[in-house]
């Protein structure tokens, strides 16, 4: 069926796409919302900051789930690989978001792999610490419930799309979502602000890079998007949204 070639990791610098606003990022996360400044400070002391270049791994599928991460800057890609080597992109993760939910749940292993796709900074917090914080601050545990529930809902939506929509609509929805969460306004339209290849879009929508390429080419000739090597700019979000919601 859909055969996906293995990626060969190769490091590249994608430039500095992000501002360097680095305040107390922890306090701005959904997970730690409402936590007292003292507790946040304490948390910060036990947290470890890591800098990542594109292609740097954060954790691997199957690793012991010892540490989870808050993204302070940049973007991570979360993937799962099947037994026969096919890859699926679960999600991209941006500033203030959590990577490594399994750690919050106290699971043994990371079910997925997280990799930087841009120069990034993440803040690592150990399982022991977060479990203790949740036990001492129920509001954090309740925040965690909300965070994971939101992911669960997202996943339901994607499942629904994959079950009921044709490839073009799925790609449209996916591109619009990425533009929403990682879009940067430019003269030409909304640019997805991290490198995104045809292969990546294929792994998010359950299709092949060839089909993604054909669809983007068609859109390009209609003036809906402007895309190139690992780059997608949405020129007419509204028209693309119409296409995403059309029957089929």
């Amino acid at each position: 069926m859909r055969r996906v070639a293995a990626r060969t990791g190769r490091r590249k610098v994608f430039g500095d796409m992000y501002g360097t606003a680095d305040q107390n990022i922890l306090g701005r996360t959904d997970l730690f919302r409402g936590l007292s400044p003292e507790s946040l400070r304490e948390l910060r002391r036990s947290a470890v900051r890591r800098r990542l270049a594109p292609y740097d791994p954060v954790f691997h599928q199957g690793d012991p789930a010892e540490t989870f991460y808050i993204v302070a800057e940049g973007r991570l890609r979360v993937t799962q690989t099947t037994a026969d080597g096919q890859q699926v992109i679960i999600r991209y993760i941006g500033p203030t978001e959590v990577a490594g939910l399994a750690v919050l749940a106290g699971d043994e292993l990371h079910p997925s792999t997280a990799t930087a796709v841009a120069d990034s900074e993440v803040i690592g917090i150990s399982r022991a610490i977060i479990r203790e914080v949740m036990a001492r601050h129920p509001e954090v545990a309740m925040n965690a419930v909300s965070v994971i529930a939101a992911r669960y809902r997202e996943m339901q939506q994607r499942l629904r799309e994959l079950s009921t929509q044709n490839v073009e609509r799925r790609i449209a929805h996916t591109v619009l979502r990425l533009a929403q969460e990682a879009g940067r306004r430019t003269a030409r339209g909304i640019e997805i602000a991290f490198p995104l290849s045809r292969q990546d879009l294929a792994e998010m929508t359950g299709t092949t890079l060839h089909t993604v390429s054909r669809v983007l080419s068609a859109w390009e000739s209609r003036g809906l998007v402007d895309s190139g090597r690992r780059r997608v700019v949405v020129r007419r979000p509204h028209e693309l949204a119409l296409l995403a919601d059309a029957a089929g």
Copy 2:
């Protein structure tokens, strides 16, 4: 709507000691694991028991998320309907499991519909109560994290299957999972112990009832399953598992 005759042999009698039975089932859930007997008793007093016949709705997509449910007996089907009326089955929910996770997360609305598919008994707990219990008992909030995380993982798995596997493998995996979680050992094999139509399987695997019918017919002629009107019996689980894990 049409009703289905009650199944014999699987029913537990609650009768006038059902208060105690409730408490037992609550204590056996992953959500309330570790909660003290007094707290469980308190919880049970504020809980409401509902009996359901097949096709009875528990809550609807879009309803305010006021109450969630623990299934004491029977089985619920959780579905989502798209704008254009297509339905997807998110999950089946059996004894000790939770329906209505949105309530735990404090969301405004139920994102999905839950319906009984067999004679069932559920225990309803209000948002106010559970939120208060989680706030007072962090271990319950942490249990909730684990419960939702487990659902999230399930969803990732289905997404992966839908993205990478052909129809036959997806149906095989789905049937095996259902046999696992709702299987009843019989002389002929493992029977999925609730009514399950071709249409249902199609809505779980992102295909059509026609294709499901053809696949089951093929399996039947190979002796892998034995199926009929809303009934599926797995005769050779091992061979079906091989098929589910084969390439393609």
